[in-house]
């Protein structure tokens, strides 16, 4: 059982405060959706949790099973059990996915006896062309291939808590189903907790949220169950964009 505990998190980017105090607790097996309009601070939340340069935490805390996440460099946050699925996965010329996963496992002192076999099995599970594993990461990948690649890494590295930043953006319906289902399966099979950041609720057909939080202007303005996503789908964000100030 793991817990990611975000307390009153305040984050600035380039001197402008974007997050004004976020409090969220995510336990193993739980799926928390954070939804909000453009510019609400959704991506800032994921970047700050993972320690992306340029995102300055000016207040609050983030703890994973009691460990101070904010005191760790990025790579240690990942080794401790956090995993970020990026909205726009970075192209890394000349570096193969198999090399990245191999080094990531070495850092975890977890060598897989047959990494290639695991990769191939996981690739098949989400219809990812396993040929791409031996190509440079994300270079010349389509939008769907990039997100399948991100999902594949999550499946192999088995994080305690995953942060998914707009997994659904740029995805066709087939890729969306494959990726969302694999994340849902991980919450059931390995008890992974998930913080799912998204603008739209179409992701939830396969990946069922237990909790939905509405983020507007750097604050969580409302929390509820899955019915809140239905409400947003119906009414949009207009109400929150105006009341959040």
């Amino acid at each position: 059982m793991s817990t990611l505990e975000i307390r009153d998190l305040q984050v600035s980017v380039g001197g402008t405060q974007i997050l004004n105090g976020i409090t969220l607790t995510i336990n193993s097996g739980e799926v928390h959706a954070v939804m909000g309009p453009n510019g609400a601070g959704k991506s800032t939340l994921s970047a700050a949790i993972m320690g992306k340069p340029g995102y300055e935490v000016v207040g609050g805390s983030v703890k994973l099973d009691g460990q101070d996440v904010l005191a760790m460099p990025t790579w240690q946050r990942a080794v401790a059990g956090l995993h970020l699925v990026m909205q726009y996965p970075t192209e890394v010329p000349g570096v193969k996915l198999s090399e990245v996963l191999s080094e990531a496992l070495v850092a975890r002192h977890a060598t897989l006896p047959n990494l290639n076999k695991t990769i191939n099995e996981e690739a098949a599970r989400i219809s990812f062309d396993s040929e791409l594993v031996n190509r440079a990461v994300n270079v010349d990948f389509s939008g769907g291939e990039k997100k399948r690649n991100e999902t594949l890494q999550l499946a192999v590295l088995k994080p305690k808590i995953a942060i998914l930043d707009e997994l659904d953006s740029g995805l066709d319906i087939d890729a969306l189903r494959d990726c969302a289902k694999r994340v849902e399966d991980a919450t059931n099979e390995t008890g992974m907790g998930a913080l799912v950041i998204t603008h739209y609720s179409r992701l939830f057909e396969e990946l069922k949220p237990d909790f939905v939080h509405i983020l507007a202007k750097g604050r969580i303005v409302k929390s509820g169950g899955p019915e809140l996503a239905d409400e947003l789908e119906r009414d949009g964000y207009a109400a929150y964009a105006t009341t959040a100030q």
Partner: protein, 356 residues
């Protein structure tokens, strides 16, 4: 004696950015390298026939150092006959064994019509050797000949190199010139290819990595003097600590060079704040109907790439290594397969690890 010669200075454009002003030739006495040649059976010439081949690929002396080499060369000459394929790679290894020496190794490769040869030339010295190597390699590729040449600079950190690679390609020939530069204190290489026959092609490729206070200095020329000639240049390097690199390249297409394709790319990673790199591409085109491009970048490792790998749990020093090797990947891919590639990889890793 060499003392009477007027040396160039950084006032001259071709020596701009160089460390030529630090050179005092009178400190060096002419001397020999220790040289071995493997795989040369059947193609290596000796005695007067070897000396007679000097000038086969270099008709004019580009500067005083090439002239000095031409005046007193230590010649290795390789000649491959018409329609012959020399299946064994010729490996030449030079070692600079003592300080205070200036040496003038000269390699001449003459490939007759429709022949093929691969040559590797390595330059080595210990770190405590304060000497100067002035190597010249001339390549003459006759019609449809295929020549591959790889120079590996593994000189010690107090040895200087001021070198030339000059190649001439006749009709439908292919010349590939590779340079791997890891060593030397100040190591300069002028690499020039003249495509003089219709349909001739050339690839020039370099991997360089300077650390400590090293400086790697490259001047390249892709000269297209006949129609439908093709050249492709890719130079990629890294500078670390307070080291420096300079790349200055010229694509020149004469009025005869119609339907020519010429490409030039130079990219340098600056791995430390104190490291410095300059990249100066130039074009000189005297005809229409050509396809030509050049690209150059100098900069640090991309922050997003670093963050991407670190966010997977890859520690920073490994992430840097992966990104740097990824950066060099397309160059390493082009290098001819040789037993020395593994050693080159290890040296790059050692340089990244900070073991200066």
């Amino acid at each position: 004696m060499t003392t009477a010669l007027a040396l160039p200075s950084t006032e001259e454009e071709i020596w701009r950015y160089s460390r030529i002003n630090e050179l005092d030739l009178s400190k060096f006495a002419s001397g020999k390298l220790t040289t071995t040649v493997e795989g040369g059976e059947g193609v290596q010439l000796t005695g007067a026939t070897a000396t007679a081949l000097v000038g086969a690929g270099m008709h004019v002396q580009p500067d005083v150092f090439a002239q000095l080499n031409t005046d007193t060369p230590d010649v290795i000459a390789l000649q491959i006959g018409k329609n012959k394929v020399h299946s064994q790679t010729v490996v030449i290894t030079h070692s600079v064994d003592k300080s205070g020496v200036v040496a003038y190794p000269r390699l001449v490769i003459y490939a007759a019509e429709n022949s093929e040869i691969v040559v590797v030339e390595r330059f080595t010295s210990a770190d405590n050797v304060h000497s100067l190597v002035v190597p010249v390699v001339e390549v003459h590729a006759a019609q449809s000949a295929r020549v591959t040449y790889l120079a590996i600079n593994e000189l010690g950190k107090n040895t200087w190199q001021i070198g030339h690679q000059v190649a001439v390609g006749e009709r439908d020939s292919n010349v590939r010139l590779f340079t791997v530069a890891l060593g030397g204190d100040y190591a300069r290489m002028r690499a020039e290819v003249r495509l003089v026959g219709q349909g001739a092609s050339a690839q020039q490729t370099a991997l360089y990595f300077a650390d400590g206070t090293q400086m790697h200095d490259f001047r390249t020329l892709q000269s297209h003097e006949a129609p439908r000639t093709h050249s492709d240049l890719l130079f990629k390097g890294a500078v670390k600590d307070t080291s420096k690199s300079v790349y200055t390249g010229l694509i020149k297409i004469t009025e005869n060079g119609t339907k020519t394709e010429a490409f030039q790319t130079n990219r340098t990673l600056t791995l430390s704040r104190g490291a410095w790199a300059e990249s100066v591409p130039n074009l000189e085109i005297e005809t229409n109907d050509v396809k030509c491009s050049h690209a150059s970048t100098v900069g640090p490792i991309d922050d997003d790439q670093r963050f991407y790998l670190e966010s997977r749990g890859v520690p920073p020093e490994i992430a840097e290594r992966l990104v740097v090797f990824g950066f060099f990947d397309e160059v390493i891919d082009r290098l001819p397969q040789s037993e020395f590639l593994a050693g080159i990889r290890d040296k790059v890793i050692a340089k990244l690890g900070g073991t200066k």
